[in-house]
Symmetry: D2
Subunit: 261 residues, 4 copies
Amino acid sequence: MKIRTVVWGENVHEQKNKIVADLYPKGMHTCIADALNKNDDIEATTATLQQPEHGLTQERLAKTDVLIWWGHAAHGDVSDAVVERVCEAVWSGMGLILLHSAHFSKPFKRLMGTPCNLTWREAGERERLWVTSRNHPITRDLPDHFELENEEMYGEPFGVPEPLETVFVSWFQGGEVFRSGLTYKRGAGNVFYFRPGHETYPTYHDGNVQTVLRNAVRWAHNPMTRLQDVNAAPNVPVETAPEKIEERGPKLHQAGEEGYR
Amino acid sequence: MKIRTVVWGENVHEQKNKIVADLYPKGMHTCIADALNKNDDIEATTATLQQPEHGLTQERLAKTDVLIWWGHAAHGDVSDAVVERVCEAVWSGMGLILLHSAHFSKPFKRLMGTPCNLTWREAGERERLWVTSRNHPITRDLPDHFELENEEMYGEPFGVPEPLETVFVSWFQGGEVFRSGLTYKRGAGNVFYFRPGHETYPTYHDGNVQTVLRNAVRWAHNPMTRLQDVNAAPNVPVETAPEKIEERGPKLHQAGEEGYR
Amino acid sequence: MKIRTVVWGENVHEQKNKIVADLYPKGMHTCIADALNKNDDIEATTATLQQPEHGLTQERLAKTDVLIWWGHAAHGDVSDAVVERVCEAVWSGMGLILLHSAHFSKPFKRLMGTPCNLTWREAGERERLWVTSRNHPITRDLPDHFELENEEMYGEPFGVPEPLETVFVSWFQGGEVFRSGLTYKRGAGNVFYFRPGHETYPTYHDGNVQTVLRNAVRWAHNPMTRLQDVNAAPNVPVETAPEKIEERGPKLHQAGEEGYR
Amino acid sequence: MKIRTVVWGENVHEQKNKIVADLYPKGMHTCIADALNKNDDIEATTATLQQPEHGLTQERLAKTDVLIWWGHAAHGDVSDAVVERVCEAVWSGMGLILLHSAHFSKPFKRLMGTPCNLTWREAGERERLWVTSRNHPITRDLPDHFELENEEMYGEPFGVPEPLETVFVSWFQGGEVFRSGLTYKRGAGNVFYFRPGHETYPTYHDGNVQTVLRNAVRWAHNPMTRLQDVNAAPNVPVETAPEKIEERGPKLHQAGEEGYR
């Protein structure tokens, strides 16, 4: 079965800004989905902010193996209920890939537990991404470094928790650096942040970037059956303890009672 | 200067439950604060849910080096505004120590980005804590293992992100295990989760537990000046880039404009 | 193509000790290889200490995707040249799974950079392994915990570096705990330590243990082309620097010279 | 008591190369020790390759809180016995700071378990170090970035295990990046790798670099009593098991016997 991938796009600048519309006439999300669909093992569709429930109903997320998220101008318009739903899907095993300005998206901030802030400059400068983890699944078929001639700069310090692995570090022409590829795990879900992708540049048409996205989808995909009740905190009665014990001492809870939350 | 420590207690069961009130006549928070105040380098005070702003005003948090949090029955009564304020203090450098049932407290879940769930049993069984990181600052003056004759059981899997370090692992009489001491960093703030402390047992009167708390306060304390504007994402204008560059390519933002959030 | 797996066995106790020989008439390594070969995607063969170059020639390692290592009584008899060869294969992308008493094997100590010590007791007591990372590839098809009725005890503190992830924690009847499943990455190679497997008990006949081994082989397998020259530290001449620069200041090395080692 | 720090210098180029000798007339090690001794809480002395046992006798290491290591041309001349002794001191709690070309030193490679390789260029180019962990003890009193006008370039991928924390990332004028400050823990010992310090440039006279070294010494210092017998793997007899158990099943070892190594 193919990896069922949903590319979520905010789809705001594509409608309002001629530069962006010219670069991505069908939207950035469609450009990314089209690139992914060139791979036999990936089946990518799209969803956007403007759709009911932002196109991310409970039913759809249940059938999504990997969700890719691009947002920028309208982070605040994303419904908190959908954000919670996305996070629960991640905890239960859905992969999540956050692109560029999605560092400030609600799902990323929610999953990281930190401000996720950085410095930035929009000057069309050169970015060079260096692989810092050789032969990581996400760097497959890539050279040790590759360039994007025009990109927005993001600079350190990047306000995120220490990752499981730092996969890419970027060099910028203007003198900054940035940890551009970071892996995390939240519950059973694999999470990857990937820096490039400013909307006024043709980044998602770039071959190396498309390779990263393909690799990241495969890496983020957890083929196991999704966990159920990811928030459950079940009581284990004395009678079913793995080792035989006798209850003793004072108690707060009655037998079979639910715990506090 | 002493380490300014605030012990936050939910203070609900101490008022309602005779067993808890007998064990902790002045409240669990006061018991913990009293134990910490035996150390020359720590100055501990208390705060409770029932106080205005739960006793955690902006002014007080600004002067708090380490916050200790115990909650259980009333997680939902804690104001979201106070939770956000606590998290911002952590990101800016305040230490945070979460005790026992605070695994389900709002600040911990907010900082972890995961469900923080587990299994549990209230049977007064024996818990034995094993040190898994020898000579970690938090294990100072402790033997390789110590026991609590009566404790609530918490069992794996524990729904948290992989920690920076696993410091303690607990053995339970009924057959379960639990990662009982976990360190994290969120922004400039050190975060420590410590498992023991069910309210119907005299855990916070235990000498080894008091040693862990003293060590944890010292470990969590970040003596540097608190970071300001922990959410700031400043623009770096072209003119002040570390290396001289010329602006090129299309732009979304006007000079000096703020970024989207 | 199948995952080419080599199960390396010390093969000493199987020859000398009747209990072990009765449990594993063809050797522990063959028992493990047979279990793995029940899976369509794995092709497991064996190698032993007594063979020339311990059965691990350069040619064979070059064609090995995952190496499984069991040793106990004869760690010191393993040739340092073979150990270095194994480590280089790991750095270049070969997976390595270390079983039980292989915590003291030369390759594990070499890759960890620590003493890898622990406490132990041979009393045939009960071990219960708890999953601490739900839906990790290594825990696929396993319940949240499973038991081995007779095992040797290994106790914390375990002298290893903090892992990428703690996947299993063991409970022992005699009161100890142990981090029984730990993942690492060394160069491009995935490394997994798995605790159970004392030679006087039928551990490798256990269905859950066989499931772990199958999962671990799949997890450890890095399908990418093996890295070449894993120790190379190439000079980047000024003329081929990614950005145009001019050489300046005093120099130690002549153009084209090799670096010191 | 002051932090007893030993600065170990290879002291080869200072004797042979006029540029290095002019920059560091008393040796790089003495320059570093002098800078550290400006701090009231640090007492730094030096040791060099040419001294008996390279100046690192068992007695001296036992009284050393933090060891700083600079080597380049003569890694191979360092005695394996001294390397093992240094590693044992680290495991028992001594801090270790590795500078620049010490990435290829025997102690660093031994503790990392990886090739520790990188790319390099000696062109006197500009290096800019960015802080990636705000308010980390090692970045105290530093700005978010600082520059070294002339340095050797080290480029990624850097062949080391994923660190506990990435503290600095360097930008190089010629287009490369490097993770310049990495923290590890090996046993009870804190380990820090810091990149700058090519011998033909005045790097160790730089104020920011001296601040990093001072901070790193304080961070690496573990004030607890050094662990004894860091390689010990003690047997826990059945009679002294924390929980009462009865021995059962077949055994390999006789009572009181030592384990295999």
